[in-house]
Amino acid sequence: MTGWTTLDTWADTDVPSHSDLNAQMRDNLLHLRETLDWPYGFPACGEPAGRSATVDLWRANACIYERFRGSGTITALGIHVLTSSGNIGVAIYADNAEDGDAAAPAARLATSGAVACPAAGFASVSVASTAITSGQHWAALSVDNLTANFSGSAMNTSGIGPTIVHRGVAGIGEGAHPPPATGNVGFSTAPHISIVGVA
């Protein structure tokens, strides 16, 4: 919350009008809302510091979509490669603006296209600079093979599989490498690959 006073503050001599008061309360409450769930000041998917299983993409030439928590302008997506193989692609999508579990990735805003899978270890894969808003953008990672795997959630160590419990949070589309122009979630998935937004 260290930044909220930079959003809207009153100077000592200000006399807030009704509209100013409304706007400033709105902006500060919106910032408060964002920090309630993910208080770290940068966008990320999948609780990267707490869960550390080996996760592949369940199918070759598939794309996993994960909804961002947290906001900020980013120029790359950070992943931790455990086994490097073949090609990957990363992308950022706008949300379809639907509520609840109908939320899904829509238009692709930035992508790396298909690139060689980075060597094992932490890797930042560049995309065009994009402003991320919590809950309104999605990260995506596509892989052309099942040998490559990544650090992710501990819920399924044999690969990401279909489930209905994470609609509106994370999903997979098949036949989607590199990440397509429009998000196409075939089924939702509980296990995540950890992805952070890198400024």
Binding site: V15, P39, Y40, G41, G50, S52, G78, S151, A154
Partner: protein, 192 residues
């Protein structure tokens, strides 16, 4: 950040613009601490824990940035295998976003015998109010106890920058390192 306590307006107080700003800031921050998800100060969401365990490295201090808010006077964790001494501590934060890291120790237990296997709750030297994102919980060990937490994959990674770190230290130092190692494999700590 020392302004998380809620403020009340005294009767007959004439509130000018910057007072209004300060009062709302403090009350909003208190609201944030009490409404945060999860609503308790832990280093990651409890219901995300997948049943893994983590063997702590000897003479190493682990830091996790808190997600929830509240006033804590102890740090809870789950011991699978007890060994040597541990210390727990709360730190304030310095830096922002992925450059955030623990700064100055606010409270600590000092070195105490590692609790027996099972749920453990180690008292701090006093209570401290923690705010989501603005504080860190820490545990250090003299030996290699096994705790509930992340496991399996390499601990050191910039994937955890701004979220979790470790450094060579035991007990928890008065000032955390300015260059700790970012990790993705941390013990589960809960402010209690």
């Amino acid at each position: 950040m020392t302004w998380t306590a809620p403020r009340a307006y005294p009767v007959a107080l004439l509130v000018d613009a910057d007072d209004l700003n300060t009062y709302w800031r403090d009350n909003f921050n208190h609201l944030r601490a009490t409404l945060s998800a999860p609503a308790i100060p832990c280093t990651y969401t409890l219901d995300n824990w997948g049943g893994n365990t983590q063997t702590l490295a000897a003479t190493t201090c682990y830091y996790g940035r808190v997600r929830g808010g509240g006033t804590v006077d102890s740090v809870a964790f789950h011991v699978t295998t007890s060994a040597g001494d541990v210390s727990v501590a709360v730190y304030d934060n310095t830096g922002a976003a992925r450059s955030a890291r623990p700064n100055s120790r606010q409270q600590t237990s000092g070195a105490v015998a590692c609790p027996a296997a099972g749920a453990a709750d180690v008292a701090l030297g006093g209570s401290v109010a923690v705010t989501p994102g603005d504080h860190w919980l820490a545990i250090s060990a003299s030996s290699t106890p096994v705790l509930a937490g992340g496991s399996e994959n390499p601990a050191a990674s910039n994937l955890g920058a701004g979220l979790a770190y470790r450094e060579t230290a035991h007990p928890a130092p008065a000032s955390a390192s300015a260059t700790p190692t970012a990790i993705i494999n941390q013990p589960l700590l809960i402010g209690a």
